[in-house]
Symmetry: C2
Subunit: 324 residues, 2 copies
């Protein structure tokens, strides 16, 4: 009789689960795209077996350079990301793209099908592109994204672009978990500038006014410049205008990204950010663990819904029941 | 010598803090706008004194009808909200508007200054308009928004419109904590439809294609219709086209909102939603409480950042230190 074997969608098979994970880690570090995709799926699905893989993956001592991109829908994130991939590839730097969509439970093919620009790189073995939705990770995408980045880092990509869809709080958190955060706006989108003003601008290391062939470009640049002038931090975010579809301005953008990278290293800010990020990652995971243990009894929820019980008292009561 | 008195920005004064809170609750239930604004500020600031006020506020037995509106920047949320206020006021229904901005630490005047449309209602005593940013609430806006809604309910507003800025996960969560959730899209915004397809559509009770005088309207409606056709839930979200600036389609929107309200009552769904909401509110608050007790030691974060310690082990270690 043949030995029992386990099968999965990626075609990996083996009779020992531990051996299989070990094998996966080796294959990721050897730069095998299929193994890499599989481990990121494990991260995405909250598959607990990913832990043993992550443990075995040792990041290269230099560490990858992680660039986050965020901005309102229609700002051209995919196009700018694709232009950056082209620019890094022209320098012969292997590049990974992680497109994170906090609003979507879907990932992989579904979303990437819409990312027409990315298809320019589909046949380049030096480029790895992957999208990730939110489905059941412990701690949500705030915990899953840094894990996926760590996997890409261990796979030896010196540059990792993390693009987030959406303009809300969750998206900003994800994009700002990078070494350099790029915020995209387009001319004349009042609401987009408004969002940039409010929360998004605070996390921007580089500001990009994309679609800069539109009429309101100069007004938008002036608007952003007056906001940046108020910043008190050591690093003043430069404002770059681009027309990513034609490639205009992309060289300047890459130059500003390099300048920011040098500043991160020389100022010690890079280490500070990595520490803050590790802290956030631990907290997100703790929340996920608390959430798993937390079942709100129907009776408690009903008393809150009816206004019989104050929500603070309900929360305190629940904390007691889980031993806090 | 005069007795010691306490002062605050709202001009409330008294020698007893408990008496002061009690007074505030009474004033809210008497429908005093200034007291109402003050209590919502307390919710927004995470002021612990709000707890005693919330405890004393007893919601009317009927409960308010809470309508959430969300959509991409530029979809015309403020204009549609304002048109709905006009429609409810024409029926002589007192109406409250809560504009929630998860991306912004700012609130009140700053944001409302941009909401030009809302100024149509500034002199109407039957309308209460308030914006709320995220600053320091325990449990974030996911916990603060239902608290603010409860305050408005206790103040006797039969209709409460909750508008959220942004299109991310946090925004969807906030808007969907309503009895009826309205999702706005505009014709031809590819990314906006994409967002609607993915996560936002799942929470929509009514879909609005605003700015329906634009060329791509019919294509957008068809697109949405084919998505709605796939829905398996009892309630199929109707698709309403509006030009909110001119008022076109607003009557039909109000009709669909009424129809959904009747369905909520007759199907028992309203109670189910209120229970689920109470549950979410308790959980958000528990998270806030856990967060307060949670300090990630520098040494632990450094080991995670350096890749010496697996983040899952770090999280487990931390949970142990806080007694879980």
């Amino acid at each position: 009789m043949p030995a029992l074997t386990t099968h999965d969608s990626s075609g990996v098979r083996g009779s020992s689960s531990a051996g299989q994970q070990s094998n996966l880690a080796e294959r990721v570090q050897a730069g095998e795209a299929r193994a890499l995709a599989r481990v990121i799926s494990m991260v995405e699905n909250g598959d607990s077996r990913v832990r043993s893989v992550l443990k075995e993956l040792r990041p290269p001592s230099t560490g990858a350079r992680v660039i986050g991109l965020t901005g309102a829908p229609g700002a051209g994130k995919s196009t700018v990301t694709s232009a950056l991939v082209t620019a890094f590839r022209a320098r012969d730097i292997r590049t990974a793209v992680l497109a994170v969509d906090p609003t979507s439970p879907f990932s992989g093919g579904a979303l990437l099908g819409d990312r027409v620009r990315m298809q320019d790189h589909a046949t380049d073995p030096g480029v790895f592109i992957r999208s990730m939705g939110s489905r059941g990770q412990l701690g949500g995408l705030a915990a899953a994204t840094p894990q996926a980045v760590r996997v890409l880092e261990a796979a030896g990509y010196p540059v990792i672009l993390v693009e987030t869809v959406g303009v809300g709080q969750a998206e900003v958190e994800i994009a700002s978990a990078a070494d350099t955060t790029v915020v995209l706006v387009v001319p004349g989108m009042g609401d987009s500038i408004q969002a940039a003003k409010a929360g998004v601008l605070e996390v921007a290391d580089v500001l990009v006014v994309n679609k800069a062939d539109r009429p309101d470009t100069q007004a938008t640049v002036r608007d952003l410049r007056s906001m940046v002038a108020l910043a008190t931090a050591d690093w003043k975010p430069p404002i770059v205008t681009t027309v990513a579809t034609s490639g205009a301005g992309v060289d300047e953008l890459v130059g500003q990204l390099d300048r920011h990278w040098s500043w991160l290293e020389s100022s010690g800010e890079r280490d500070r950010r990595r520490l803050a990020r590790a802290r956030d990652e631990v907290i997100a995971l703790v929340f996920g663990m608390v959430r798993e243990r937390l079942a709100v009894p129907d009776e408690l929820a009903a008393r809150v819904a009816d206004g019989q019980l104050d929500v603070h008292e309900a929360a305190a009561e629940l904390l007691t029941t889980i031993g806090l």
